[in-house]
Subunit: 130 residues, 2 copies
DNA sequence: CTATTTGTATTATATCATATAATACAAATA
DNA sequence: TATTTGTATTATATGATATAATACAAATAG
């Protein structure tokens, strides 16, 4: 799994790490239970600070995507269950995003089209990788 | 159109303003061409600084949602067209959000169900308000 | 013309988020 | 025992966010 960090982005590095790992899981590039690189390895590869990677990993841990311990490092969880708190927050984000799209003269049909494309993209990537 | 600012949120006030105005437009609470409150009025009503409101308005202006001039104040644009840049950025955000949902054991069907609900909520609110 | 109402610019201040750097520590393993 | 994990600590730097108090520019209403 290759990670690209955009140093010129206003998006914080540790959230870039978070986002790409989640996208990686959804697309099957990272499988459930799979190990992530050590924070030192990751930091060296990408050319950033160790603690920034640690911060990204900890965010993923708090959000329930990965588990971390000293002996085994960081691994993608085997079961990432949807709790009510997550679902509500995600719905809020989705509401805003759909509002933006709707306001930009995109029809509900077009919006659903885009959503379907993305979801099927995850599906095909997963099928190819497994 | 009533605006609620959460002072305890980590979300910046000026983006809270932005988000709620976009949601207001999508739901028809704010109509195309309608005037927004003056920055002073807004600031006084909500109990925040004038320049924070100005910052929110300017963000909306840069993103193409409203237009501002000294004589008439701020108004929702009459045509909010979707340019390619916006569409690409929105698609990126949607990709991440759908990835989060998919990883949380939500099926494509359930995800689309949620999306449909939100879109039809906008629609009904609009129909009632007009 | 004058007073009022727009948004904006300026300057200063305060707080927090982000990121780096250089070490040091704790825990487990080979 | 040496190595590899993640973590903690302290310091530093930069930028974002928000407020405060004025002042200015542009247009309108009286």
């Amino acid at each position: 799994m290759l990670l690209k960090i955009d140093m010129s982005s206003s998006e914080p590095i540790y959230t870039q790490i978070r986002d790409q790992i989640i996208l990686g899981i959804a697309a099957g590039e990272l499988r459930l239970g799979e190990s992530l690189p050590s924070v030192r390895q990751f930091a060296e590869d990408v050319g950033i600070n160790m603690m920034t990677v640690s911060k990204g990993y900890n965010l993923l841990k708090e959000e329930g995507y990965i588990e971390i311990d000293r002996r085994n490092g960081a691994k993608v969880k085997k079961k990432i269950a949807s709790d009510p708190v997550f679902k509500e927050q995600a719905q809020k984000k989705l509401r805003l995003l759909l509002a933006e799209l709707a306001v930009h003269e995109l029809t509900p049909f077009e919006i659903q089209q885009i959503g379907e494309e993305i979801l099927s993209e995850f599906q095909t990537k997963k099928e190819r990788g497994e």
